[in-house]
């Protein structure tokens, strides 16, 4: 089984792809059949992925020598495009995580989407997404990855705009698509550079060639540019500042989608890509600093926005942006294992919280404002307590998963700082402060939603078992998932690392600081939002610091800034270009088209239908060719009597 799975890893993405085809062409009229097909496919993928994980993680050989096989797709001289599979601990971990979360969320969706007229379509999209995401993860070259990358983008677009009757959903889908396209374009440029300079997009080959970039005749400056171009893709996809604006709006999609795509899997594709191409970034310190700084800034920036948001899914969305910033920060300071570790734990607790939020929205009939909730834990114990576990995990309370990964990130950032990067201290400070803010805003949400007084107008009820089962499983992982990477027994960094494995001594001081920050955040939230039943103190604070509150609540006006920019600069530019297009370009094109048509009509008259004409043209052509060849050809010219 294990050997079979290793040799047939391509089945993992293929099964959901087949499910997509089956649903679209066959089972669409029968919703239950569609969801069964979809779940069966993703579950089989999960089983395969688990076998692969077993095979990879029981054989240390995979660390140094990944399993790679590929198939020539098409090619020409000097340029071959392959599709292939690259299995190493990093991709295996992703494969396992993605297939599991996707399976759980599809199970959850059977309850959540119950009765929706587009039920089958929803599952077909989920299958397509799972196929593309799994395909992205196992890609052995960047072109294949890029194709999958675009496909997950397409799925994200389709699923954000799933409720097509809602204008806001349609707008959000458009916004997500266009914003990420900006990133993808930068990335495509970067990939083109890589292909032209290094002659390959194969990850393994690139990893060998890039460190010797000077032999390929390029300077460090150009390589930095390439790295940053490639990084623009992840900025868009993983919601990093300044292209983060689409992610909160993406919450217009159905909640399982937010959990699957916009929290646990697709948005981490950017992080994964940077992790995969870390060999490129590692060569250029400048690009690494950019990654680290953008990551840290995004983490802090999004956390400050999350402080004042009122909609439950928006708070979670900003928290996702912020956590993605953490992952980027870890990669930027050169630690693949810390970044991937946080990716792993985050997937569980964030999917858990999103699904919990979905359960709440399900119960309250889509009432989204946390201030209108309260005391839900009594009526919805499973949702509530699993959500609390998620909250403890993200706040960094041991032994929950988030603690270990966040601690790891803080540790590597501090190490970075002490190894001669003075910028590192700034990064470290931003990261620790964000940790405090995270605990605070998360628990603000939890206290407001699940504790305190019940609101008489709400009639919550616990969700069906299909929805609570995934919550319980995810809560299990959010509790225990971090134990494989504790500083005392760090299996994680033994398996997943870049360069030398990281041998940090467990730093008790740092851990205490981290726990203190988490507890302080939770405590502050407790005082403000639980003890103070009328919430007078926070209201006073908001009054007193009105400007700050407004800036945060309005997300630093980034959207408005973009809108202003589009309305003035882009629109004005567009007007100029439109004029040019109408009068100059169209003029030329119309002229050409007219000429083409006229010449087509003119040439048509040669076709008389008379046999004699045809024969005449034929022999005339033979004659002309002979004469031309004869006169153009010195040897024949002599004999035919022609001359120069």
């Amino acid at each position: 089984m294990v050997q079979f799975a290793l040799n047939h890893a391509w089945l993992v993405p293929l099964l959901p792809a087949l499910a997509f085809v089956i649903i679209v062409f066959l089972t669409r009229p029968w919703p239950r059949v569609s969801s069964t097909v979809s779940i069966a496919a993703i579950f089989s993928s999960f089983v395969l992925a688990s076998s692969i994980a077993y095979g990879v993680f029981t054989n240390p050989g995979f660390i140094e020598k990944p399993l790679e096989y590929s198939l020539r797709w098409f090619g020409m001289e000097g340029f071959t495009v392959k599709v292939g599979v690259l299995l190493d601990p990093t991709s295996t971990m992703m494969l396992f995580m993605v297939s599991m979360v996707a399976a759980l969320i599809q199970i959850y969706s059977t309850g959540y989407m119950e009765g929706d007229p587009q039920y089958s379509v929803f599952f077909s999209y989920l299958s397509l997404f799972a196929a593309s995401m799994l395909g992205l993860v196992i890609s052995s070259n960047l072109l294949q990855m890029f194709v999958m990358w675009e496909l997950v983008g397409l799925c994200s677009f389709l699923l954000i705009g799933f409720y097509t009757f809602k204008i806001s959903a349609r707008e959000a889908a458009k916004k997500a698509f266009m914003t990420t396209r900006i990133g993808d374009f930068g990335m495509l440029l970067g990939l083109l550079f890589l292909q032209i300079i290094f002659g390959t997009l194969d990850l393994t080959e690139l990893a060998q060639r890039v460190p010797a970039f000077e032999q390929f005749g390029i300077s460090l400056g150009l390589l930095t540019l390439i790295a940053i171009l490639v990084f623009i893709g992840p900025i868009g996809k993983s919601g990093q500042f300044p292209l983060h604006v689409w992610l909160p709006d993406a919450m217009e999609g159905p909640t399982p989608v937010s959990a699957l795509i916009h929290a646990a899997t697709m948005v981490v594709a950017g992080v994964y890509l940077v992790g995969r191409t870390l060999f490129l970034f590692a060569e250029v310190p400048g690009a690494m600093e950019v990654v680290a700084f953008i990551g840290a800034f995004t983490a802090l920036f999004a956390a400050t926005i999350a402080l004042t948001q009122r909609e439950i899914k928006r708070i979670l969305a900003y928290s996702t942006v912020s956590q993605l910033g953490y992952m980027m920060l870890a990669l930027g300071v050169g630690s693949l294992s810390a970044g991937m570790f946080h990716l792993w734990t985050h997937a569980f607790f964030k999917a858990l919280m999103f699904l919990g939020a979905g359960s709440v929205l399900h119960a309250l009939h889509n009432k989204a404002d946390v201030w209108d909730m309260g005391g839900l834990i009594k009526k919805m114990p499973i949702t509530g307590w699993t959500f609390v576990i998620g909250g403890l995990a993200i706040a960094g309370i041991p032994p929950f998963a988030g603690f270990w990964s966040k601690d790891e990130i803080l540790a590597v950032t501090l190490q970075y700082a002490t190894h001669g990067h003075s910028l590192g201290y700034v990064l470290f400070f931003m990261a620790t402060f964000t940790a405090f803010l995270t605990a605070f805003y998360m628990w603000r949400m939890i206290f407001l939603t699940f504790f305190g007084k019940e609101k008489p107008e709400n009639h919550p009820h616990e969700s069906p078992r299909s929805m609570t089962f995934p919550l319980i499983v995810l809560a299990g992982f959010a509790t225990l998932g971090g134990l494989i990477g504790t500083p005392w027994a760090n299996y994680w960094s033994k398996w997943i690392h870049f360069g030398q494995p990281h041998h940090g001594e467990p730093s008790i001081g740092l851990m205490l600081l981290s726990v203190f920050l988490g507890v302080a955040g939770i405590g502050l939230a407790y005082i403000f939002y639980y003890k103070d039943e009328e919430k007078l103190r926070v209201k006073q604070l908001a009054e007193r610091y009105q400007t700050l509150y407004k800036i945060s609540f309005n997300k630093y006006y980034v959207d408005e800034l973009y809108l202003w920019f589009t309305r003035t600069v882009v629109d004005a530019g567009a007007k100029v270009l439109y004029w040019f297009d109408i009068h100059v370009v169209d003029g030329i094109i119309d002229g050409m088209a007219g000429f083409t048509k006229v010449s087509g009509r003119g040439l048509r008259y040669l076709q008389t239908g008379k046999l004699q004409t045809y024969a005449l043209v034929f022999f005339l052509a033979v004659l002309v060719i002979t004469v031309v060849l004869a006169f153009g050809n010195p040897t024949s010219a002599g004999i035919l009597g022609g001359g120069k």
Partner: protein, 476 residues
């Protein structure tokens, strides 16, 4: 002399099939003669199996007069495949408009035999024999609806003009023979390498370009094709467009690369000009056409122009491009013509305007038409895109102007292809009753569509096969 008959299995099987179709037609009662179409199709399927099994059974017969190599086998499989598709697509058409089933089907098989012989021809006589067998079969087929004046007129035109082109080809062959003293293509190459260039050779070469240019319908030797394509029974048109053209390309390449390869400097520019003219005229004149068969005829002239580009390159990659493109062109063209034939069965019209709302009347047919036309236009991810890519990539060095021209003309072609699509998908039908195709024609359509899609997405294996076959010419 050692004569290995096993190398001729495919040819013999075809011959037996053609004869037995004919004889069976004479024997069985006239009511069951229509079943002979299925008989011929099944027989061809068997022959296809034989050809594929015998793929690696390669060798040379009669001192190089008959060559059974990878190149020939590739084309043989292609011809037999296209004959199967054409026959499957023509059941209803022949039933309704022609009759004379067994004559029709056995003639198709004999035409196929001619093509197969052409693909293997190693000397001028075999080449000419194969070509005439094919051409004469086609003359019969074109005039097959002899109660229909248009078909008869087309047959007459084809007879006279084909005779003329045969004469020119023969003249060219005799001049080459005169200059080199041999009729075996391999020995011609040696003689050319020894003796170099001579005026006789150049004139012979010109004649050959003209004669074979007629067969592939390259401008300025194309004038017969729109009239003949329009007048011929539609299934015959499709066979003429794919089989005859591909077979002529097969010998064109064999002659020019295998025999006259050393004179590349002499003919490359000439062929390049013909390619350019074909692309230009074919695409431009296709625009004002209102009859779909005429439109497809001009489009097929343009396609011949694209394929000639591979000959201009005269490299392994060029031959590979030609073979790949010819292969995909078969499916796209047969798919389109099968739709045309079936639609004609129902509405008795070939006017593009009458295709209004086809998607509502026959969704499968409209989809196949869409895919085939887009493939011909070279839109990814369909086979035509990959084919054009392979072809034009070979002349990037040296004939960049040809690449630009091909690019521009492909864009022009999108216009007239999409016009049909627009009519089919946007307009409302005058009469919304569904159009039945019959399961055999549906099979042709589905095969054409699937292969066009698969070759576009995953061209690797076929390209590999074509590449291996293409090396035949460059082993020396």
């Amino acid at each position: 002399m050692n004569f290995d008959f096993s190398l001729l299995t495919t040819e013999l099987a075809l011959f037996v099939l053609g004869l037995s179709t004919f004889v069976l037609g004479l024997v069985v009662p006239s009511a069951s003669r229509r079943g002979l179409g299925s008989f011929a199709a099944l027989g061809l399927l068997l022959v296809l199996g034989i050809a594929v099994i015998n793929w690696s059974n390669q060798g040379v017969l009669l001192n190089g007069m008959y060559l059974v190599d990878g190149y020939a086998n590739f084309f043989k499989v292609m011809f037999i495949l296209s004959a199967i598709l054409v026959i499957l697509g023509s059941f209803r058409y022949i039933d309704q408009h022609v009759g004379h089933h067994f004559e029709y089907y056995s003639t198709v098989v004999f035409a196929t035999l001619g093509m197969v012989v052409m693909a293997s021809a190693g000397d001028f006589i075999t080449l000419y024999l194969g070509m005439e067998l094919m051409t004469i079969s086609f003359i019969i087929l074109v005039a097959f609806r002899f109660m229909d004046t248009k078909s008869l007129e087309a047959g007459m035109k084809y007879l006279l003009l084909a005779a003329m082109s045969s004469a020119v080809t023969l003249y060219g062959l005799s001049l080459v023979y005169g200059a080199t003293g041999t009729i075996i293509i391999g020995e011609v190459a040696e003689a050319v390498a020894r003796g170099g260039n001579s005026p006789l050779l150049v004139i012979g070469l010109t004649m050959l370009v003209a004669g074979l240019g007629f067969k592939v319908a390259a401008v300025p030797f194309h004038m017969w094709s729109p009239d003949v394509y329009e007048g011929a029974p539609t299934p015959v048109t499709s066979f003429l467009a794919v089989g005859s053209k591909a077979a002529s390309f097969a010998i064109l390449l064999r002659l020019f690369l295998g025999g006259l390869g050393d004179l590349h400097g002499q003919w490359a520019m000439l062929v390049a000009v013909l390619a350019a003219l074909s692309m230009l005229v074919g695409n431009l004149v296709a625009i004002p056409q209102t009859n779909i068969k005429r439109m497809l005829a001009y489009s097929s002239i343009a396609q011949a122009g694209y394929i000639l580009v591979g000959l201009v390159a005269a490299t392994e990659a060029g031959v590979k491009g030609v073979m790949f493109y010819a292969f995909l062109y078969i499916f796209a063209t047969v798919g389109a013509f099968t739709v045309v034939a079936a639609v004609y069965n129902k509405i008795k019209s070939d006017e593009i305007a009458d295709y209004a709302g086809l998607v509502q009347r026959a969704p499968l047919a409209a989809t196949v038409m869409l895919i085939c036309l887009l493939s011909m236009a070279g839109i990814p991810p369909l086979a035509g895109f990959v084919g054009k890519f392979y072809l034009f990539q070979t002349v990037v060095q040296g004939y960049m102007w040809l690449v630009y021209l091909g690019l521009i003309m492909s864009m022009v072609s999108v216009y007239y292809y999409l016009r049909v699509v627009l009519v089919m998908f946007r307009d409302d039908p005058k009469d919304p009753s569904p159009i039945e195709f019959g399961s055999a024609a549906n099979m042709t359509l589905i095969i054409a569509m699937v292969i066009t899609l698969v070759l576009g997405i995953y061209p690797g294996p076929l390209a590999e096969v074509a590449n291996t076959a293409a090396q035949t010419f460059f082993l020396r």
